[in-house]
């Protein structure tokens, strides 16, 4: 759209109406809100990941109970001793992933699966006897 005389006059007149600028501390205040929002998002994301992983682990545990017929207490004892053995052997790896939540959960999930297999093996052994 080409600029007419009316456009030039209107622009000049409207420039007079320009209101004061925003609060000089606005950026700082806004960034505090942004940081808060970012922290909230991170927490929500972590919660989602945590819940998903716990759900997977729970599924394995329930499956283990169902398949082996062991009581929850027996299952916990068997899993703990197996995980202790597993994590003890992988001490160096555990140190390497310390502080990394996702990696820890992955290891725990793998541990959960391994525990399940160990429990099944225990059960099979008990049947053999």
């Amino acid at each position: 759209m080409s600029e007419t005389k009316e456009d030039r006059v209107t622009r000049e007149i409207l420039k007079r109406s320009v209101i004061d600028t925003i609060d000089p501390d606005f950026t700082e205040m806004m960034m505090k809100r942004i940081y808060r929002e970012n922290r909230k998002r991170r927490i929500m994301k972590n919660l989602f990941v945590n819940f998903s992983i716990f759900a997977i682990i729970d599924t394995f545990i329930l499956l283990a109970i169902r398949l082996t017929g062991l009581s929850a207490l027996e299952l916990v004892n068997a899993s703990v001793s197996f995980l202790n053995r597993l994590l003890g052997q992988a001490g160096r790896f555990k140190e390497a992933i310390a502080g990394n939540d996702l990696a820890m959960y992955l290891v725990l999930s793998i541990g959960g699966i391994a525990a399940l297999l160990a429990i099944i093996e225990l059960k099979l052994n008990s049947w053999d006897r």
Binding site: M1, I13, I19, I34
Partner: protein
């Protein structure tokens, strides 16, 4: 430059979002103020708009202008806020609007001192409806093109031209009426 900062923010360097705030806060405030007509509300609108922009930064289409995208968020946030208020009645006579000669208003306007000029223009803008105010501010103050105004407001390109013309006419009618009543009060 904009692309560079955008990438940094998206990669997790949240502090770099301050670059966008510093760059666009005044223009966003100016637009919000013209919609809500109140300093406190305008600041809140700008805060909410920046927060919305930050949250949906991943949805911003690369290649298009960040400012146009942000202004659209500001306009929508501001309109949502004023929609709860009762709409202003429009009492304009279109034939009168086209009869007002810009030159007449301009010469009377120039006779005023700076503070009177500012007061006159601000009072006239307040009497316009939200859409007229917004289009005038985007076109004349923010120097947006018709295409950008169309993108920001969601009004079709052809309608923007027509509405811009009408809004300008209405602004001059209001300014003319105010100047006339001012002269009458001086002569009395």
């Amino acid at each position: 430059m904009e692309e560079f900062y955008l990438r940094l923010v998206l990669e997790g360097d949240v502090s770099k979002f301050s670059w966008f705030i510093d760059r666009y806060k005044d223009m966003a405030f100016s637009i919000a103020y013209r919609v809500v007509n109140n300093r406190e509300d305008a600041e809140e609108v700008v805060q909410d708009a920046f927060l919305k922009a930050f949250k949906s930064l991943e949805k911003f289409r690369r290649g298009s202008r960040f400012s146009t995208w942000l202004y659209r968020i500001v306009v929508n946030t501001a309109l949502t806020r004023v929609r709860s208020e009762p709409p202003k009645m429009e009492t304009f006579d279109e034939t009168v609007a086209s009869d007002v000669v810009v030159g007449e208003v301009e010469s009377a306007y120039r006779a005023l001192d700076l503070s009177e000029q500012k007061e006159l223009v601000n009072d006239a803008l307040v009497e316009l409806n939200v859409e007229d105010r917004l289009i005038l501010v985007l076109y004349y103050l923010e120097e947006n093109t018709v295409e950008e105004i169309s993108e920001t407001t969601g009004i079709a390109r052809e309608n923007v031209k027509m509405k811009l013309h009408r809004a300008r006419g209405r602004l001059y009618v209001i300014m003319n009426n105010k100047l006339k009543s001012e002269i009458r009060s001086v002569l009395r």
